[in-house]
């Protein structure tokens, strides 16, 4: 069975799977905004697939409950403190995602974790959840990314596109 077929809710379901890529973060707090910056880069990358939607999730997770409900796969991009070098990228999948969300760099993390938990409670959780985290350096007021995190952006875009191809070959 291919990954794409695996994304569908029921065996024999031939409907087109839907994949959402959501970048979270506060663009006013430097590297905190890496998720949103990645979405901007992905939208400018020329990648188009009718099954895939890129979403700037900004800072307000609970507003996304409606958008996230019932999707087949969800790829989150966010600043995550994993104790690595600034700009390093790390991938978490499924059960590791809620744990990793607690290491997020900002205070909206509880929001995202709670939205995911609420989707489970509503029995509308995504079939697959992947979190691509980027280690931040600077979380102070400012609209720009720090040099190591800005340098990581092209690699981050490539990695997200590879993730999309893996989930939707």
């Amino acid at each position: 069975m291919t990954q794409a077929a695996g994304l569908n809710a029921q065996e024999g379901d031939v409907s087109t799977p839907r994949l959402l890529v959501v970048g979270f973060g506060n663009i006013l707090l430097g590297d905190e905004g890496i998720g949103v910056r990645a979405i901007e880069a992905l939208q400018a990358s020329g990648f188009v697939d009718p099954r895939v939607t890129f979403i700037d999730g900004g800072t307000s997770a609970m507003d996304l409950l409606d958008t996230l409900a019932g999707v087949d796969a969800l790829v989150l991009i966010d600043a995550v403190r994993s104790g690595l070098a600034p700009g390093e990228i790390v991938r978490y999948a499924d059960a590791a995602v809620p744990v990793a969300l607690r290491m997020r760099a900002s205070s909206h993390q509880a929001g995202i974790a709670e939205v995911l938990a609420s989707l489970v409670l509503m029995e509308q959780a995504p079939g697959v959840v992947v979190l691509i985290g980027v280690e931040p350096l600077v979380l102070e007021m400012g609209l720009t990314l720090s040099p190591p995190v800005a340098a990581a952006l092209p690699g981050l875009v490539t990695m997200v596109l590879e993730e999309i191809r893996r989930l939707l070959p």
Partner: protein, 566 residues
């Protein structure tokens, strides 16, 4: 004497820390400390005032649209710019839908679990819970089958070790007093509220082009292209879809949310005696119904000393009574300055960190004052102002709550009972019901105005040479929000935002008077300092921004006691 600290896990973006001294089972002294908004001026200074709203709506992790609305209003106020009626109605609908979403989520998903014991709901008799619910409301989803299905779902969730959102509750805490059937009823409505809140968000998305972070505002109006017969823009078809969502929200708010607040409030009637705090209330009028911002669907004003007879109205966007009354003190905040309150146009934000000093500086939040006094803001202030102004929808829903709670608790509920922790929840439900009415009303006003052939949505701003100043205020879900802008030669020279949580979470002011949280916490009973559920109840009743990040840390060994569910 025990001292507890309730502290968040993260260090940026507006966290709240609460310190309490507890003696003989009661809070004797409290401090609210936070870090918010520091440095936003640096990002805005020198920018085009027409862009400020896109930046300000990114500042907060919870309230997005409200900072966009207040920001365009501030610039429009400085320019003395009139706003087309269509733009006012569309903005009003976004304001209402956002507020309804916020209030429903706050009650069910962020604070109900302070009062409702989910684990106890597993022991309830669904038939009894259904009989209780059907005696209170005509809501069709209160059947025995619905409640039994919810109980099964909870059982699967809890039994599977997947407590998820429920993992951090104080289940079995001595302050939890609801019968299992009431807990089941609340749990069922918790799940239904997850579904219904999505309708409110669909309205914000349909009108604002995007959610979170709306895209349709402009200084001077809105950018929604309107054509009643087109597929791609704001069409009659889309307006009818919005109306369908409004009707579903109205049913839920009137038949479920308001009723649940009454039921829970009646069972916890003793909490009308806790959490009083500052009783000088401030609210601003909102939902302008003309182009100049002089007539409003909802009144606002100032009530000193909790006395509705002393109500002083704020009459419009240009009323100097509000503009001249606001100042901020930094005597107990980590900023440079001698503590003399400064008007927001002259506001300074130069850091001066000193560590947490109980009688000195201990917060990144400045202490806002209205004519020199701290003020409580939020739905309670709005409802008291509505009652004082004789605002018919507020009075009607308020009377409904008083009668329902009185019948359930078998006692007469005086207006004074509102000055309390549970009173803030009741007022929020009343406010939400008023918002639903206004959402319907503004929808009708928009449709009628479009039918007249008026499709204008924006008046183009033009910026004069020299200096102009403006304030934009908005009665946001958490209360009075004001943005203050100084514009010099078409560029932002100074920008200050005085947010609702700043009013309520204020530290002591220049006269050492405590802020609303600090004052409300004094005398709150605490059965077990290791599990200060009662403190969370009172703080959560204000709907603090970003309380989702609250952790309970025991200062003695730094151990994390648990995560406040906010």
């Amino acid at each position: 004497m025990t001292r507890i600290t309730i502290d968040p896990i993260t260090r940026i973006e507006g966290h709240l820390r609460i310190d309490c001294e507890i003696d003989n089972g009661h809070v004797t002294k409290a401090w609210a400390s936070g870090q918010m908004w520091r440095g936003v001026e640096q990002i805005l200074r020198g920018r085009d005032p027409r862009d400020a709203w896109t930046i300000t709506q990114r500042i907060c992790g919870v309230c997005t649209t409200v900072h966009a609305i207040a920001s365009v209003r501030a610039v429009e106020n400085a320019l003395n710019l009139e706003i087309p009626l269509n733009a006012q109605y569309i903005r009003n609908m976004i304001v209402a839908a956002h507020a309804i979403h916020d209030h429903i989520v706050h009650f069910y998903h962020l604070s109900a679990l302070d009062w409702v014991d989910i684990v106890s709901a597993l022991r309830a008799d669904p038939a009894k819970a259904s009989a209780l619910a059907e005696g209170l409301s005509a809501w069709p989803r209160n059947s025995r089958h619905e409640f039994a299905a919810v109980q099964e779902r909870l059982q699967r969730f809890v039994g599977g070790g997947q407590l998820g959102v429920f993992a951090n509750g104080y289940w079995g805490h001595p302050a939890m007093k609801l019968a299992p059937e009431v807990n089941l009823l609340a749990a069922a409505h918790y799940l239904q509220a997850l579904e219904i809140q999505r309708k409110a968000n669909k309205i914000v998305g349909a009108l604002g082009s995007k959610t979170p972070h709306i895209q349709n505002l402009a200084v001077g109006g809105v950018t929604n292209p309107i054509a009643l017969d087109s597929q791609s823009v704001l069409s009659m078809e889309r307006l009818l879809m919005i109306k369908a969502h409004i009707d579903e929200l109205a049913a839920f708010v009137n038949q479920v949310y308001l009723v649940d607040v009454c039921a829970i409030g009646a069972f916890y009637a003793d909490w009308t005696a806790h959490g009083k705090g500052v009783v000088d209330y401030l609210c601003v009028p909102d939902m302008p119904l003309d182009t100049r911002g002089e007539t409003f669907a909802m009144p606002g004003g100032y009530i000193p000393g909790g006395d509705v007879a002393a109500y002083h109205p704020i009459r419009g966007f240009h009323d100097p009574y509000f503009r001249e009354g606001v100042a901020e003190s930094v005597k107990h905040a980590w900023y440079q300055g001698d503590g003399k309150p400064l008007h927001p146009y002259r506001g300074e934000t130069v850091p001066n960190y000193t560590d947490f000093v109980d009688n000195g500086r201990y917060s990144w939040v400045k202490a806002p004052t209205f004519y020199g006094k701290p003020a409580q803001v939020g739905p309670l202030a709005a409802v008291l102002c509505g009652v004082a102004a004789g605002h018919a929808p507020t009075v009607r829903h308020f009377n409904r709550v008083v009668e329902t709670v009185g019948a359930l608790a078998k006692q007469k509920i005086p207006l004074a009972a509102l000055h309390s922790t549970i009173g803030r929840h009741a007022a929020r439900a009343v406010r939400c019901a008023v918002m639903v009415e206004n959402l319907t009303h503004n929808w009708q006003l928009l449709v009628d105005n479009l039918a007249k052939g008026d499709l204008t949505t924006c008046n183009k701003p033009s910026f004069p040479a020299g200096e102009i100043t403006g304030v934009g205020f908005h009665e946001a879900p958490r209360g009075v929000l004001s943005h203050w802008v100084v514009i010099r030669d078409g560029k932002i020279a100074n920008y200050q935002a005085v947010v609702p949580t700043t009013w309520n979470a204020a530290p002591r002011n220049d006269n050492d008077e405590p802020g609303p949280y600090e004052s409300a916490l004094v005398n709150t009973p605490v059965a077990n300092p290791e599990q200060p559920l009662e403190v969370l109840r009172t703080v959560h009743s204000f709907d603090p921004c970003l309380a989702c990040a609250i952790h309970l840390v025991d200062k003695r060994d730094g151990r994390v006691l648990g995560i406040g569910r906010s």
